[in-house]
Structures are given as C-alpha cells and as structure tokens.
C-alpha cells in the first residue's frame, strides 16, 4: 500500500516536445496498492502526461534507448533503474540524448 507521493518530473534534451513543450511537471501520484517505482511511474506518465508518439519515449516497460534517467541528479543505474522506489519530493529527470550535436 503506497501513500500518495508528490514528485517533480522534468524533461530535457528534446523529450519535452512529446509533452506539449512543458519541461517541468509537479505531479501527485495517487495512493495505490503497489509501491511507486520507476516502472509504475512510466506507466503513469504514459497514461497521463504523454501527449503523442509514445514509442519515442517508452519501449516495452522501460524508456527508449537513448533517454537518460536521473533521479535527484544521480544516474538511475546506481539506484536500481526500474526498481527504485520513489520517495516523496523526489525529482526525476528524463534527458533525451538523441537530439542535436
């Protein structure tokens, strides 16, 4: 049983184009049975925030290769990637590296 969480979701590097150009989103995740990990967060983002072209952001149950995920300014690989359990006031940043040079 997970309590509602307030997290900041941010998009950069061009990923914001898929979210109406809005870079920062302060979201409140509702309380639910399963804990809020990144995997569930992605599902939530796909359903509620993603405006177009889901295949450019999500692939399978993870992000598309080429999109970096930073949790509180640290690499998500250090924190367990999809299995990291979100905490209140966390900041999750998705940077697309596929654009520009």
């Amino acid at each position: 049983m997970a309590a509602p969480l307030s997290v900041e979701v941010e998009f950069g590097g061009g990923a914001e184009l898929l979210f109406d150009g809005v870079k920062k989103h302060q979201v409140t995740l509702p309380g639910q049975e399963e804990p809020w990990d990144i995997r569930n967060l992605l599902v939530w983002i796909k359903k509620n925030l993603l405006k177009e072209r889901p295949e450019l952001f999500i692939q399978g149950d993870s992000v598309r290769p080429g999109i970096l995920v930073l949790i509180n300014d640290a690499d998500w690989e250090l924190l367990g990637e999809l299995d990291y359990q979100l905490q209140d006031q966390d900041s999750v940043l998705f940077i697309s590296t596929l654009h520009g040079g």
Binding site: E16, A74, L78, L79, T97, G101
Partner: protein
C-alpha cells in the same frame, strides 16, 4: 552450427542480473565520494572525479593529436545542441586556466540557422536566434551567425581544394609551442609582436583583438522560399539529411575561409561517430570512413575539420551539461519526431542504441574500429598529382573509368534516364553520351546529339558513389544552389578542353616513334 530448420528451443535460462554499482559503493577513482554517474560498464564516478575525467579527455584528445598550433584561429561549429555546447564550454574553460596548461588557440563561433530547411516559422526562428545570442554573449568569443539561405550566394570556389603547405614534422609543433611560450614571457616594454595570425595579447585570457561579430542581413523571403523548395523536392529523409549536411559543411567552410580560420571544430561525440560510421557504410561512403569519422579531416586542404569530442559518449555529455549547468538550446531538426524507419540515419541510430542497451561495449567497439582506419592514398602514389574530387563531398573520387562495377551501374542507370537512343547507324559499340563513367573516352566528338545531354549528367559524373545515390532522390537539379551547377559546368568544360588538347600533345614516350599520342 546454424542450420536451416534448427530449432533453438526454449530461451536460454535466465541469468541473474549482473551486480549493479549500488549507491552504497564509492567512486571508483577517489574511493571516497558518493557516485553520481556510471560510465562505461559499471564504473561509478563522483561529481568531482567525473568532471576531472571529462575535462582530461578533452585536453588529451587535443594534445595527443598536436594539430592545433598556438595562436591559430579555430572556428567552433555550434548547433545549439548538447555536444557542441559542451565543446564550447570546454574551450572557454581551457582558455582561462593558468598559463602553463592553457589552451592556446584563438576561437570563434559559427552558428548556422537551418530553420528554413526544417520548416520553422520566422517567429520561431527569431526566438531561437535570440536565445542563441544570449548564450553567445555570455561566452564572449567572436561569433558569426549565418542562415542556411546564404548557400545561394556562395562562390563556386568553396568546392575547390586549396592546397596548403604542410605544417611540418612533429618537431615543428614543439618548436612552435616553445617559441610561443618564450614570447609570452618576454618583457612588457618593447614586446615584439607575434607574427602568427591572430596575434595574442598575453594579458587578456582569449587574446582577442576586437570581438568581430558578424551577422548578415536576415535572409530574403525569396531565398527562404528557394531553400524550402529545394528541401521539399527531395524525396527521402535520408537524402534530405545528407543534403543538409553537405550544404552546412560548405557554408561553414566558406565562413572559415572568409575570416581566416584554419581549423573548424565540430562537436561530434563518440556515440554519434559510431552511428555515423555505420550509416556511412549503408550509404555507400565506405571509402571515406577515415575522413568522415576520424579526428582530423583535411579534404578541403586549407581548412581542417577537427573533432575533439570524439571520445565523449552522449551520456557523459548529457550528464556533464546537467551537473555543471552548460547552456544549450534545443532546436528541431529535419528528423525530429520522425518514426524509426524513416531514414537510414534513424534506423542505424535505433539499431546502435538498442544494441548498446544490451551490450554496453557496442559503441566503444565501433569507435575503436574507426580509430584504426588509415587514410591511404588511392593508388599508393603519394607523389602523384591529386586526383579528381567529388563535387559535393570533396573526397577523392572512388569511381574508376569504365571498367569497374560501380561505373557500370552508374552508366546503365544514366542510360535509362536518357532521351531517345541514338539511331543505330551511329552507335557501333559504346552508345553516344556514355557520360556516366569517367571522361577518358570523352563525349562523342562534335556529334550534335551530345549537346542534347542534360546538365544533370555533368553533375552526376563528378560525384562519388555515395553522393550519386543521394542525387537519385533529387528528381531535378534546378533547385540546387547555383554554385554547385556552375562549378560542375566549369569542371566538365575544363575536362573536355583538356581532352581535346590531349591529342595535340606529343607524348614524351613517343619521341622515338613517329606521330602523336
């Protein structure tokens, strides 16, 4: 081994996931700090060690290759994207260090506004330009903003290889650095001026005499219209991307030549170059991989293109920019939001990145392969005159005279586009106007049907294989900027004049024999 019909059965048993570098581990370098980023496969770095690692790589790539001489004018090609922004930041920081380890060249920045090719509205372009200017003013180097529309006023000389006297042996580099340092420490009064281009004032960090900004007039609506027409007429996204790259290169080269820059730095990262290597193979540019992906590219002769970011992966660049607040501006490109299979570039990018996700050494393996490519002269003849160069990409032509397979393919595809065939009485063996291949046979002498040949053949026959394939997606050459067509005509006229002169020249080998060659 693999056989047809062999069933691979059940999937391999699930391996336990490899142990991940957890947060409770320490930085692998200093063993103390809290790690923030994982580089390569499993190396966790803390913030400070990551910064040192990143900066060191940049300096090492420049120092290892020893191509940039002190006081040289270097043009930094900036697209606004993360890699080139990071490169500019590294140059900025490198120039402001204490004098022993300082970078020693004179930088300038060029930004090419490609909004017209990407279908942006004038308001969007103006807004992007304003953001760019803010950053340019913060950086403080002299900058040049050019719109892509200016390709319509380029001179044909931009397509010519301008030879430059060789910069000398390795000893010359060291000698140049030593003499530069000596002059820096010379007494303040009566200090002799450096005779190198872009002489530096030792007091100021970058040593720039006057910040020379240039921003040409905003492009006219007619030029923007012409550019849009050109890009709309290209049938495939692959050809569009290649054409954009070609035009951009020519424009940057022109800016460099006009303002006296002898080097251009581009921000191609390791990941991008690995993708570019594979894409070039798919596009038929395998002969030029060493120039397209190597550290230095001297195909233009006097201006050398240098890639100092080639050892940084996109992940490192993105992390550095985020952790150390490097400003960059996002601008949509021709392939923004394009689906995965829309062009060869996108397909290859998706392939490489997906493979990288499963096998983290993919990009570095491809990159290491590119490092091993050697630029060998074509026939091994180092002393001979330089051969013909491709009209667009300016690499040495890789198409032989009529015998090779590629020439045959180009020839037959040209013939299929030809006008009604010549009357049988006139065509014994080779058809008239077989201009698809080399010009050695020459166009039919004085025969009238030859002049009906469209200018398209003149252009196509001067391109390398990769550029010819791209041109197939451009149904008409009319929308191309005039400098390309002018130079093509000039070259083919010169070739036909040379051909005519050949028969009047007495070959020195034939002196013992009678007659002409």
């Amino acid at each position: 081994m693999c056989q047809e019909g062999e069933d691979y059965g059940a999937p391999a048993p699930e391996m336990p996931p490899p142990p991940r570098a957890g947060r409770e581990l320490k930085c692998v370098k200093c063993k103390e700090g809290l790690p923030v980023v994982v580089i390569r496969a499993g190396d966790a770095f803390c913030r400070d060690c990551f910064k040192a690692f990143y900066v060191h790589k940049f300096r090492a790539v420049l120092g290892k290759n020893r191509l940039i001489f002190p006081g040289e004018k270097v043009l930094l090609a900036w697209s606004g994207g993360p890699s080139s922004s990071s490169m500019i930041w590294q140059v900025l920081e490198g120039l402001s260090r204490d004098s022993a380890k300082r970078l020693r060249f004179v930088p300038g920045i060029v930004y090419v506004d490609e909004g017209a090719a990407c279908g942006q509205s004038p308001e969007d372009r103006a807004r992007t330009l304003a953001e760019m200017k803010l950053i340019l003013q913060t950086v403080g180097f002299p900058w040049h903003i050019v719109a892509l529309e200016e390709v319509f006023s380029l001179p044909p000389s931009v397509l010519r290889y301008l030879a430059q006297e060789p910069s000398g042996t390795k000893g010359a580099y060291k000698a140049a650095v030593d003499s530069f340092l000596q002059q820096q420490h010379a007494p303040a009064e009566g200090e002799e001026q450096l005779s190198q281009p872009g002489s530096q004032d030792p007091q100021s960090p970058a040593g720039l005499p006057t910040a020379a900004q240039t921003e040409a007039q905003p492009p006219t609506a007619a030029q923007t219209e012409a550019l849009s027409r050109l890009f709309d007429s290209v049938k495939t996204l692959t050809a569009k991307e290649e054409l954009l790259q070609t035009l951009r290169t020519h424009l940057i080269l022109h800016v460099a030549r006009t303002h006296g820059y002898s080097k251009v730095m581009t921000g191609d990262s390791c990941t991008r170059l690995a993708i570019k290597l594979m894409t070039s193979l798919a596009l038929g540019r395998g002969a030029f991989l060493a120039w397209d992906t190597g550290f230095s590219d001297e195909r233009h002769g006097d201006v050398v293109v240098v890639r100092p970011m080639r050892e940084h992966t996109l992940k490192e660049v993105a992390f550095y920019n985020r952790l150390f607040a490097v400003p960059s501006v996002f601008t949509p490109a021709v392939d923004t939001k394009a689906p995965e299979k829309s062009s060869i570039h996108r397909l290859m990018e998706a392939f490489m990145l997906r493979l990288q996700a499963q096998f983290p050494s993919t990009v570095s393996t491809v990159y290491r392969t590119s490092e091993k490519l050697v630029k060998a002269p074509r026939d091994g003849s180092a002393g001979g005159p330089p051969g013909p160069r491709c009209l667009l990409c300016m690499c040495a032509l890789d198409i032989d005279t009529a015998d090779s397979a590629t020439a045959f393919g180009a020839q037959t595809s040209h013939l299929s586009h030809m006008q009604p065939p010549t009357p049988p009485a006139e065509a014994p063996t080779t058809p008239c106007c077989s201009a698809g291949a080399g010009r050695a046979q020459g166009c039919c002498r004085g025969a009238e049907p030859c002049r009906r040949e469209d200018p398209r053949a003149h252009v196509i026959e001067q391109l390398c294989y990769g550029c010819r394939v791209n041109m197939k997606d451009l149904p008409s050459l009319d929308p191309l900027p005039p400098y390309i067509l002018t130079e093509a005509q000039f070259r083919s006229q010169r070739a036909s004049v040379l051909q005519e002169m050949q028969e009047y020249l007495i070959d020195s080998d034939d002196e013992a024999q009678t007659g002409e060659s």
